[in-house]
Symmetry: C2
Subunit: 163 residues, 2 copies
DNA sequence: TAGACGTAGA
DNA sequence: TCTACGTCTA
């Protein structure tokens, strides 16, 4: 079985290879890839600053993330509707969004896990795509009229090819 | 590793022993004990009738379930508040509640999984307690003033003792 | 589309 | 207490 990594860290995870697949988000925690059950951006505090450790990006979902060869365009977190009748809000540069911005500034590696819709459309599976660097980010208006963040991540060369 | 059971069935699950522990609710699905990620009552249709396959009962939680030696008193599902401002409602004899009532009438076995709060209070773990029969159920007023169902389940004799 | 005994962290 | 790219069935 896979080795269990309980320590949240930046960069490569021992025993995990590019292309490894997982059936549930909780498995990502068991192996040490991504410790947040429901959040797309995980991060850890180094000194006084939060750095992103990993993101879970999903194809063909509401978030409009894009996978283009070795470039991922990822939508920030926050601003979503919880209760019917409430409006969505502008995303803020806090928590996971701030951690990704910090990772860009310090050129800190970010693990990318790709959530793939299953063919039977029953849930997702998760594939480890390797290490990326945040190249830039910007804010734009979403379909709701509220602003959201986009992060452009570029895959670090020299890793096994994507499957 | 554990054998993977993908077929939802009533009664004993191959390879699973009383006392087996699991860290996440999704693991219960992987081994075939309980297929619903968030619902406490799982069930399967036999002919025209839904029968309960399993319940996940939790100590020291809002639900006021009781574990007393070989008797479990379990609270039905439904009636909960989703949005702030909405009132809770009376529980209805549908879905999981109906399945448990059917299991009682037909003396059909129900697996009981016990959700235990961890000592560090970070989430729960799940222990398989074995097979039970529904002895009776009734409706009562909850703290909210709305009615809820209680199911009394009795452990079938001859199984390994509870840990 | 909504509803259900999920989980961890801020 | 609340949010957050959960996950399945009816």
């Amino acid at each position: 079985g896979k080795r269990v990594n309980t320590y949240k860290k930046i960069g490569q995870v021992p025993g995990i290879q590019v292309g490894d697949e997982f059936q549930y988000k909780t498995e990502l925690r068991l192996v040490g890839l991504h410790f947040k059950t429901m959040c797309g951006i995980d991060y850890v505090k180094m000194g006084d600053v939060n750095f992103a450790t990993s993101i879970v990006a999903s194809e063909g979902y509401d978030y409009d993330d894009k996978f283009d060869a070795d470039v991922v365009t990822y939508t920030g977190e926050g601003g979503n509707v919880i209760c019917k009748g409430k409006k969505s809000e502008d995303q803020k540069m806090v928590k996971g969004n701030l951690a990704l911005a910090n990772s860009m500034r310090h050129k800190s590696e970010v693990r990318v896990i790709r959530g793939q819709e299953r063919l039977d459309k029953k849930g997702k599976r998760y594939v480890y795509d390797g290490l990326y660097l945040v190249d830039k980010y910007w804010s734009e208006k979403g379909d709701s009229g509220k602003s959201l963040y986009r992060f452009k991540l570029c895959r670090i060369p020299g890793q096994p090819p994507l499957t």
